[in-house]
Symmetry: C2
């Protein structure tokens, strides 16, 4: 029986001020180790001692190791979500530019949070909480871009085709290309160009 209340994402409800500091330091240390050694090699013990407490104490703040990872992912999902919606408000006049700026935004996120995003992709299949966060974020992007495509009234070269499915596939492709580049440590700029080429060839704007 859990002595404290947790929200649907596994975070403690209403963490007190001192606790919030601890919570943040746990997450910061966890992110460091995620970058340094990866999610597998990173153990609850190592996170706890790095944050200056014991395993048992860590379980006061997070229900499980996976919840720590999920909180890390959530940080980025929140940032991403905010960026998507503000970018959508300041809609550029040209749809091409809107698309390119979306790709740019994606590249920026991957360059600044590569390790966490890689972890999100890799853990999604086995950690439901993370899958939920990650899929939700992707869905937001998909919808934003579908709206863009509809608004721009993209001409379909070869008759009817399911534009929604195409956009979803392209979003998946984008994630994939950046993921690969991030893993390989190769240029995200090059990845960006590849992605842009494919988008514009598949969805030629008028």
């Amino acid at each position: 029986m859990a002595p404290y209340a947790y929200d649907e994402n596994g975070r403690r409800v209403m963490a007190p001020s001192k606790g919030e500091l601890r919570e943040k330091s746990i997450l910061d240390e966890a992110e460091k180790q995620l970058i340094a050694v990866g999610a597998d090699a990173m153990t609850v013990e190592s996170i706890a001692t790095a944050a200056g407490l014991t395993r048992g104490a860590l379980y006061f703040y997070f229900r499980s190791k996976n919840d720590v990872l999920a909180a890390l992912v959530q940080r980025i999902v929140i940032e991403l979500s905010g960026a998507v919606s503000t970018r959508q408000k300041a809609l550029p006049n040209l749809p091409q530019d809107a698309l390119l700026s979306a790709i740019d935004l994606t590249r920026d996120l991957w360059s600044r949070h590569g390790a966490v995003m890689r972890a999100a992709v890799e853990l999604s299949p086995s950690v439901p909480v993370i899958a939920q966060l990650w899929n939700g974020a992707r869905e937001e992007i998909v919808e934003s871009l579908q709206a863009l495509v509809v608004a721009a009234a993209v001409e379909t070269p070869d008759g009817s085709s399911d534009e929604d499915a195409l956009v979803r596939a392209l979003v998946g492709m984008t994630e994939r290309v950046f993921y690969d580049a991030s893993v390989a440590g190769s240029s995200l700029r090059t990845a960006s160009e590849t992605v842009a080429t494919i988008w514009t060839r598949v969805l030629p704007f008028p």
Copy 2:
């Protein structure tokens, strides 16, 4: 894997021994459980008892749980590899048809071995042996398709672009779309169409 002896014609010298049968039954049971409960929930204990032996005995045949999974993946990689090379010999006259037949082949593999292929994708990041097999197979496909694109002298709509990177990205996209469809249990035929649309729009054959 196990060092079998082969004669000068490449046939195996000895008829399937008791051990080989055991090995096969282990793999068969493992595949069943992979389909039924997934790689995580499937334990060495459960595989062993399902195959009618104890954990210790299983480790006589495979060095680790991951090696069992890897052997499962290898089965499919071998089939895939064979299919790719035979299809390449019987090259259709029209490059579009070659491409479509390649997509068809991929769909067929996903429909028959979805569970194992999903496992391969999901385990690649954390299991080096599997990553090696899977990446090798993908590389084979990439090269085969790059050759196709070069031979067909695809016209690039917008000046110079790194065709190799495009093909690699498209192969990744294909894997991704089929993976998603397989996870969602949705129509692989629909996935096939989406994939085909994207390929042909990105690489318009003359």
